[in-house]
């Protein structure tokens, strides 16, 4: 089963005033814009669209499977994912059900990325204790993992009411659980969790210098091999990234600077130039974005999925769609060709439903 490196976009889903016009989109406009952006991603040849999950303003995507189900109905190839699904505050039983349903509707074009969330009050709003963040992530996923693999589950844990004779429906498509990525910005425990299960590990790679993520990813690769899932080089790694592209780099810098300067996450701090030097943010020409992204491979090894953050900080929809044209037409085709060069045959691409089904049939032949 041939798999390939996947390129795509991930959206935070923020409603932010455009600092150059003072205009703030409505929630309705922003939700529709996210859908338009996802459809555009497929149109320009990208592989993945992932949405965040948030439960507080100014963010709109509180219900990712609803949005992804709608996008699934309007796309043919696009892999639908999340960045991230909150494994701490969502009931793992509901995650199992929602994503299995989405998996059927999308004919298998679904995976998800689990994260703990970084908004303190979400924990108490959903009846949880933030100090239990890591234990919640570990226990809830242990249950989710079983719900997709065992037809009848008896279960008792620390955080959720026990289950006796519970069957999560629908059962995963073809008996293959959606592939899971574990996202983490700083916790080695989560890299260890991903390695233990042989799941993917996604480093957000946006707000921190690369050295930080090199440590986490090398830990994950080493522990992936320790648990017998393959060699360290075969571990399934995803990376974030953040770019703003124009044909010529001065235009990119000039146009993006006002958005950068007041961006909700890092605005009013270091200069754009300093932030580009310290983090993987790249603002420039297609060639500059290509060169910078190719460096990721040198730092982190051959990896499976690259997602870019393109639609935040108040950038208008029209600009984002232009960005996607440039990404899909001028950047990603070159990256695909370059990533394929010298890539060891034994290093797989990103898992898909088809590749997981093939692996399952190989392990337990039909009719055997």
């Amino acid at each position: 089963m041939v798999t390939k490196v996947q390129f795509g976009i991930f959206s935070v889903g923020d409603v932010t005033t455009d600092p150059t016009t003072g205009r703030t989109p409505t929630e309705h406009e922003r939700i529709k814009a996210m859908v338009t952006i996802a459809l555009k991603a497929e149109e320009v040849g990208l592989d993945v669209f992932a949405t965040g999950e948030h439960h507080n303003p100014p963010f709109v995507p509180s219900s990712p499977t609803t949005m992804l189900g709608y996008i699934a109905a309007r796309t043919e190839r696009l892999q639908l994912s999340t960045a991230t699904t909150l494994i701490t505050t969502n009931d793992p039983v509901k995650i199992a059900e929602d994503f299995a349903m989405l998996q059927h509707l999308a004919d298998g074009r679904v995976d998800l990325m689990l994260g703990r969330g970084n908004t303190g009050p979400v924990y108490p709003w959903f009846g949880q204790d933030i100090r239990q963040g890591i234990p919640l992530a570990i226990e809830n996923y242990a249950l989710l993992h079983r719900l997709w693999r065992e037809d009848v589950v008896d279960w008792e844990g620390r955080f959720r009411t026990p289950l006796q004779g519970f069957t999560s429906t629908p059962r995963p498509l073809d008996g293959v659980a959606p592939f899971v990525w574990h996202g983490s910005i700083r916790s080695p425990e989560i890299a260890e969790q991903a390695a233990y299960y042989g799941d993917g590990f996604f480093a957000n790679n946006i707000f921190w210098p690369k050295e930080h993520f090199i440590r986490l990813i090398s830990l994950y690769r080493q522990r992936y091999a320790h648990y017998g899932h393959g060699t360290p080089e075969q571990a399934v790694v995803g990376l974030g990234g953040q770019v703003f592209i124009r044909k010529n780099s001065q235009d990119a810098i000039r146009e993006f600077r006002p958005y950068f300067d007041v961006a909700p996450v890092y605005g009013h701090g270091p200069s754009l130039e300093e932030f580009m030097a310290e983090t993987p943010l790249t603002v420039g020409s297609p060639q500059q974005v290509i060169d910078r992204t190719l460096e990721f491979r040198e730092y982190f090894g051959d990896y499976q999925r690259q997602l870019f953050l393109m639609d935040h900080a108040g950038l208008p929809l029209k600009t984002v769609l232009e960005q996607l044209d440039l990404l899909g037409e001028e950047v990603v085709p070159v990256l695909r060709a370059e990533f394929a060069k010298n890539r060891p045959a034994e290093v797989p691409g990103a898992p898909t439903h088809a590749s997981l089904l093939a692996a399952k049939n190989e392990a337990e032949p039909v009719g055997a």
Binding site: I134, P135, I138, E139, A142, E156, G157, R158, P188, E189, A191, E192, Q193, A195, Y196, F207, W208, P209, H212, R215, L216, S218, L219, R223, Y227, V265, Y266, G267, H268, G269, P270, E274, F275, E278, T279
Partner: protein, 226 residues
């Protein structure tokens, strides 16, 4: 042996830096005497020159890092220059921390630097606290503000905290108190004593690899109590 010196003086030259240098000199003199070795003095850039081996002193001027520290608050991570300063403090065997007293307490810049350190960076580390101010009336800020800050960070703070008012630079001891020189000597004796006799473990190396608890142990810790 590595000694980090954090100084939050704002003027150039600064009496806070002057006090920091005198304390560092007094401490390295004593550790060299105790261990029979010499002293190595580093600059803010970490380009220290080896003199006779022994104690390596790294001085961190927070004024030079003021914008980097503010940016760390905004972005959530330290840039390269600040990262290096944080590593120097974290990896040091001992720390001398000196601040001017502003509005009855340490300066905001001084506190901000310790806010961006990892909360375990100073655990078990011997620390000498010192401060400067225009009059001796602010001297107890060392006891009421700095000492609790470093106690919270679980550092081992030496009993003598050194306060230098402007007048201290121009007078000796009187019938009631020791002069600045004597107080510096007493504090340096205490810090040098801890540095040369303390149990291992105060120094924390920033390794290149993450440490992790094996997953089975993490799972086992969550199993319901029978």
């Amino acid at each position: 042996m590595k000694l980090a010196v954090v100084t939050a003086g704002l003027t150039q030259p600064s009496s806070t830096r002057l006090l920091a240098d005198r304390l560092a000199e007094a401490v390295t003199h004593r550790t060299a005497t105790a261990t029979g070795t010499g002293t190595r003095t580093g600059t803010e850039n970490g380009t220290g020159t080896e003199t006779e081996s022994g104690t390596e002193v790294r001085v961190i001027e927070l004024r030079d890092l003021a914008v980097d520290i503010a940016n760390n608050f905004v972005t959530g991570f330290p840039n390269g220059r600040l990262r290096e300063a944080i590593a120097a403090v974290t990896e040091a065997d001992g720390l001398i921390a000196v601040t001017p007293i502003f509005s009855g307490s340490y300066s905001g810049l001084f506190k901000s630097f310790f806010d961006v350190l990892d909360n375990t960076a100073l655990t078990g580390k011997p620390v000498l606290i010192a401060a400067t101010g225009g009059t001796a009336r602010h001297s107890l800020a060392l006891e009421h503000a700095l000492r609790p800050l470093f106690a919270y960070l679980r550092a081992v703070v030496v009993p003598t905290a050194v306060y230098a008012a402007s007048e201290d630079w121009g007078c000796g001891q009187d019938a009631f108190t020791d002069g600045l020189g004597e107080r510096i000597g007493r504090a340096a004796d205490e810090l040098a004593g801890l540095l040369t006799h303390r149990a291992p473990g105060a120094r924390r190396d920033e390794g290149d690899e993450e440490q992790v608890v094996p997953f089975e142990q993490q799972l086992a810790a969550l199993r319901p109590v029978e």
